[in-house]
Amino acid sequence: MDFFAAQDRARRKTFQLVLLFAIAIVGLIVATNLLVGVVVALSTTAGLVDPGAMLRSQPTQTWVVISLGVLICIGGASLYKYLALRSGGRAIAEMLGARQIAPGTQALDERRLLNVIEEMSIASGVHVPAVYRIDEDGINAFAAGFGTDDAVVCVTKGTLERLNREELQGVIGHEFSHVLNGDSRLNLRLIALLNGILFIGLVGRILLRSNTTGSSRRNSGGAAVLALGVGLIAIGAAGTLCGNLIKAAVSRQREFLADAASVQFTRNPHGIANALKKIGGSTNGSMLANAHAHEASHMFFSQAVKLFFGSMMATHPPLPERIRAIEPSWDGQYIAGTPIVEMSDTPDGAAGFVDGVPADAPSNVVAAVGNPTTASIARAQGLIAGLPPHSVEAARDPWGACALVYAMLLPQSDAGRRRLLEMLEPHVLAHLDDVEPTLVGLDDTQRLTLVALACPALMTLSHPQYERFVADVVALIRADRRIDLFEWVMHRVLLKSLKPHFEGAHSPAVRYRDFAALQGQVAETLSAIVRAGGHSSDAQQRAFAAGAAAVELDLQFAPSDDVNFNRLNDALRELRGLHPLAKPRLIKGCAACALTDGVSPSERALLIGIAATLDCPLPPDLALPA
């Protein structure tokens, strides 16, 4: 999967979606006008005799008012939903009443799921998302979010109980691919837009209810309101129909693609194929009874709501088609998805995939972005297994996670350390002695893995606790009045992962189609990488030249040993607004800079930090030559 092309395609689909939506609105306006016309014509004797003349005698103002009314309803409702979704993926989980699974849970089925998700997140180069569960028997799951930063994963109780680890991996791989290629952003937008169309039916229902409780049934006016209410409900149903058609048009093909991506990710077609077979073989299948399931039906792994009017409105391709696409030799037999009694949490050996993707050329680095493979999973499993168990346990607990971050940022030497300790949150401080020894001897990659693992626990902090945590982190970084490389990468990664959860998410707007206005920023970024390498001035010039050539721009550079992180932050802020199809060149340039004369650990960490800031997740198995 070409990550950048997929992002671009998802953006173009959004335009298609808005167009379809506009057509649906026009259709609904016409339908409402027709309905009112019919009601008016039928409710007066003059109208019954000669409806045509009666309607033509109505002032045009009537139709204008009706049309504007419809527009206000739809626009208002869509706007409201759009604003309600500002908290990102979490809003969908909360709308469905899902419960967050505690990151430190010891319940075997939940622990197994979290382990699978941790592996896949590290393998994809993103932080571990918050995981929710819905207590229903149907086997289903979804991932929602504007991007990798605010994504959440949610599974049903049925999934936890009936799928084995291999099948869980297949399902989670499918969901991760939706997030990585921009589908989930599209899906959230769909929910906001469709809410407007569904709103008309809601108004109809309100009118109906107010009419039956009122006393105005005696006069014809009451009958008209009743008719209007019923009519609006009918239009609302028509609106739902339009909505489902739009959803189907946009989302069905993407399900096949996500299935394929999952197979590529896990190199194991059986996992996801068996999961689909189990859905086919169980009584509830993937159906959900939740009242809000309709709104989010296109986001689920498999069909979540009953189909009326046949397969045209299905949000997902039929199960047999999906299974055959993965396993052409399928014999048509489903698997009975009975709850598993003996749960096993041993990862299936991805042995033999020890070596990573050789990143000996910048184009390989670009190809690796957003493209985790089986090797990535093996590497992720190895990374997690190689961490001291006590530190991993601490990372899964909010208190321990805070202590880990403090411990990574605290200066080792006594000078100033005591003063800093006095300033930090006392509860967390108590845990520091416990946690600090576990960090001894860990390299930067391992520390960053711990940070990625710690994210879901940090997301369970309350708002005041989060603000205190951020303040402490900033104070720790500022303490020695220098920002060193690791501190910078940590700060970027932490903020990026936590800010959307606590301060609202949004998808980064595309502000620049090409590099025309961004030459200075690109130069700043490449300079940072080159200077972080600790090479001689000549080597720096060569590396920069290689980078500039890869980006195909003519850039200026001055060798130095210091990296100015403030300027780098400003540059990256602008570069985030680059069009997805322009980003590969930038990544190529960064990679070219780093790969000249071998990659030092600082260059490696910086490359990862920069790629993360640009929303280009890099898998950990990138074997950058030392």
Binding site: I66, I72, E94, M95, V203, I206, D397, P398, W399, Q465
Partner: protein, 198 residues
Amino acid sequence: MGFGTLTFLGIVVVLVVWFVSIYNKLVTLKNRYVNAFAQIEVQLKRRYDLIPNLIETAKGYLAHERGTLEAVVSARNQAVAGLAAAAKDPGNAGAMEQLGRAEGALGGALGRLNVVMEAYPDLKANQNMMQLSEELTSTENRVAFARQAYNDQVTSYNTYKQTFPPVLLAAFLGHGADASLLEFADHAAIQEAPKVKF
């Protein structure tokens, strides 16, 4: 039909959207404190699971202190029951108070056990006992942190519910009662050696 109808309709739409948004926000804030309570539950369960092991280890040494040990066991069972009741309805005033009292009683019983253990240096030096004691202290701190988060979420729910305009609708929408904070007696104060003051 005229612009009068349009304005009326506009007002209806605004009212409905306003209603819906207040309702949804109340539900969201409530779910957040329920979730926060689930985090406390995880830590408390861990804490309670450590105690039977502690009792087993101590039994051999503390043959003559059966009373103290039994007090711990019964306090622990009370706390487990209190937790189960509270988990069914987080934020309920009665349940939260009961859990708080049960935890306080458990802390007191453990404190007395600690005092008793001072007289048995063999027990204190036992590896298993040292590890368990340390884990117990660790869970106390984790619970404190989780409790702080829960209380923060409860406060933000109650505050929103009491501001205008949600205050007009809260009771009608099924969010009448304020959620209750979770308070524990201060264990540290119990276990600390008394300081002499002049």
